[in-house]
């Protein structure tokens, strides 16, 4: 099954690279790529603009979508495993509010640094995401333990409060008001990769976090039996929970830095994958990453080519698929589905 998913991802990548707002001929693309990668010397049957579009705009974008999709799906698996709640998603523990607030501050403070190609907004969104999650953990923790229900409630509360803080900032500040469409557009989510350095940094972080999550697969499997049973099976529950939260926040933070708050991928990629490969995390983690990557690559393809030349925030498209899925999941919940 992993092989099937890998093929699906490869196919999606090729498909998405071939299509976009601008029509490029596939044979031209092949020759361009051969020139670039293999040092071939095909005569150019294309305009220099086409080559610029393919290598400088489209490829980083498609790669970014794959990386973000994989990160969100992995984070979704981790949080659903940690919180034993099928409605958990990467933003469950305060991340959506924290990232939004960080991003809003990035808009507000008119800072002018770039960090490896990232402008202030994604950097602050990343920081905000991690800070929010630490806050949630600190709030939920008492006596050395952070019970899952408390984590969920604290996550909801922190996200809500930070979200309203963003609205409050918007009211108070002229500068933000002038950028209203931009702020909301960013909040709706959209892959924004302008330099390969951004991608490389994000990929390193995401790969490392995914590897860490995979090494924890046995603990995650045991946690699905409940914290007490997991403890009785030898899992160091509290410290493993902390590690999972840290890895999940890195994955989500990196995803938000590259693509804003893209919803639903982290919720339903794990669920769909679970049906395909079962609940054991050893398979679930890589499979969900592959599926999430393929899904977001295709969703992003739609976002940039459904109404050319207009760009639709990809979060809208994932919501169109994810919303009905979410409802279906809720209905299924009533029939005693347990994670």
């Amino acid at each position: 099954m992993l092989g099937v998913l890998a093929v699906v991802l490869a196919g999606s990548l090729l498909f998405a690279a071939a299509f976009g707002a601008v029509a490029l001929r596939p044979d031209d693309l092949l020759r361009m790529t051969a020139n670039h990668l293999l040092g071939a010397h095909f005569a150019a049957t294309w305009r220099p603009q086409d080559e610029a579009i393919f290598f400088a705009i489209r490829l980083p974008r498609v790669a970014g979508a794959a990386v973000v999709g994989a990160a969100l799906a992995s984070a979704g698996v981790l949080f659903q495993g940690l919180l034993r709640n099928p409605l958990a998603d990467p933003y469950a523990l305060g991340v959506s509010g924290g990232a939004a607030l960080g991003g809003a501050l990035g808009f507000l403070l008119s800072l002018s640094f770039t960090f490896l190609g990232f402008s202030p907004v994604p950097v602050l969104a990343f920081v905000g995401a991690l800070l929010a999650m630490s806050l949630v953990y600190a709030l939920a923790r008492s006596g050395g333990r952070a019970p899952i229900v408390t984590l969920l409630l604290a996550g909801f509360a922190v996200s809500a409060i930070m979200g309203y803080a963003v609205s409050f900032l918007l009211i108070l500040n002229d500068r933000l008001q002038l950028n209203l469409p931009r702020v909301y557009g960013w909040l709706l989510g959209g892959i924004s990769v302008t330099q390969w350095s951004q991608l490389v940094l994000a990929m390193v972080m995401i790969a490392a976090a995914m590897a860490g999550g995979w090494l924890l697969r046995h603990s995650l499997d045991a946690l699905s039996l409940g914290e007490e049973s997991a403890q009785q099976l030898g899992v160091a529950v509290e410290s493993d929970k902390r590690i999972v939260i840290l890895l999940g926040s890195i994955l989500t933070g990196a995803a938000v830095a590259l693509g804003g708050l893209i919803g639903f991928v982290g919720l339903f990629a794990p669920h769909v994958t679970r049906v395909l490969v079962g609940p054991r995390h050893g398979l679930l983690l890589p499979a969900a990453a592959l599926l999430g990557a393929a899904f977001l690559v295709l969703a992003d393809l739609l976002a940039r080519s459904i109404l050319p030349p207009t760009e639709i925030p990809v979060g809208i498209l994932t919501a169109f698929v994810g919303g009905p899925f979410f409802l279906w999941l809720l209905r299924r919940e009533r029939r005693d589905y347990r994670l």
Binding site: R84, L215, H218, S219, D221, A222, S224, L225, G226, E228, S229, A230, Q231, Q232, L233, G234, V235, A236, V237, R274, V275, G278, P279, R280, G282, Y337, R338, L339
Partner: protein
């Protein structure tokens, strides 16, 4: 040296639930924990599992202080069959039993041949081979209970803790479960500490009984010594009459209610 040795243990969550409990269990014996609801049976099991640290006193396993062991080391010695634990969907029986090897599997390489062998052994010992490739959620209550027992056995423990193992089972499966447990204890030299609320089953299947009341160990010893009418009446607040079991000779517990229970005139006047 006892397998399990609890010395003057007081334990609880906010307030102490257990007071000054001293209890030892040997290899190869089944000890039943009996007592009314809220007496502290589950809490005592948690202490024995090392999951709940005593507020005072100590818990030892095979001469080693439980508190000094890491969770993994504990899990390689002590296994628990819980009363009501969440059950994830979509797991095969073999996978569920495989979770019992969590304290042993390698982080990077996963399950070894030894782990797989232990799983197969646990499945066969628990008598669930025909179920091995089915989904756990599709099984009946009795079958599921066996699967969870197999999972505990896959841990290759020396101490097996059972919390109301027969609670949701019908008559046949109750007996079957305890038959299995007692047989295993003999064969594998296990120590079993089981919270049981059916006094008759306790009398039939345990070597010793420990009677808990309001967090204190009221009596501990052979069932004949513990299951006495005055003790049971005081502890459970219920009158009983004890006689001898017709075939096995163990105490036969008869309830003597006062109220609306039916009476059938006795043959002997």
């Amino acid at each position: 040296m006892s397998r399990l040795d609890l010395r003057a243990v007081s334990a609880g969550y906010v307030q102490p639930v257990l007071h000054d409990i001293s209890l030892a269990a040997e290899a190869g014996e089944v000890v039943a924990l009996i007592g009314p609801n809220g007496a502290g049976k589950s809490t005592l099991l948690r202490v024995a599992a090392g999951v709940l640290r005593p507020l005072s006193g100590q818990a030892w396993i095979d001469g080693v202080d439980l508190a000094a062991l890491s969770p993994k080391q504990r899990a390689q010695r002590i296994a628990v069959v819980p009363q009501d634990a969440p059950l994830p969907t979509g797991l095969f029986v073999r996978e569920m039993v495989g979770l019992g090897r969590t304290p042993y599997v390698r982080t990077l390489f996963g399950a070894s041949a030894k782990d797989r062998a232990a799983v197969e052994w646990a499945i066969s010992v628990a008598g669930i081979e025909p179920l091995a490739d089915r989904f756990v959620d599709e099984l009946s209550g009795g079958e599921r209970q066996r699967v969870i027992l197999a999972r505990a056995l896959a841990q290759q423990p020396q101490l097996l803790l059972l919390d109301e193992p027969t609670a949701n089972l019908d008559l046949h499966h109750q007996v079957a479960m305890l038959e299995l447990v007692r047989g295993l204890t003999r064969e594998q030299d296990l120590t079993v500490l089981a919270a049981v609320h059916d006094l008759q089953l306790a009398a039939l299947y345990c070597d010793r009984a420990a009677l808990l009341h309001e967090g204190r160990l009221v009596s501990c010893g052979a069932p004949e010594a513990v299951l006495t009418a005055p003790l049971l009446e005081r502890t459970f607040g219920q009158r009983v009459v004890l006689s001898a079991h017709p075939t096995h000779g163990v105490p036969l517990v008869a309830l003597v209610p006062n109220g609306n229970a039916r009476r059938v005139p006795s043959r002997e006047t």
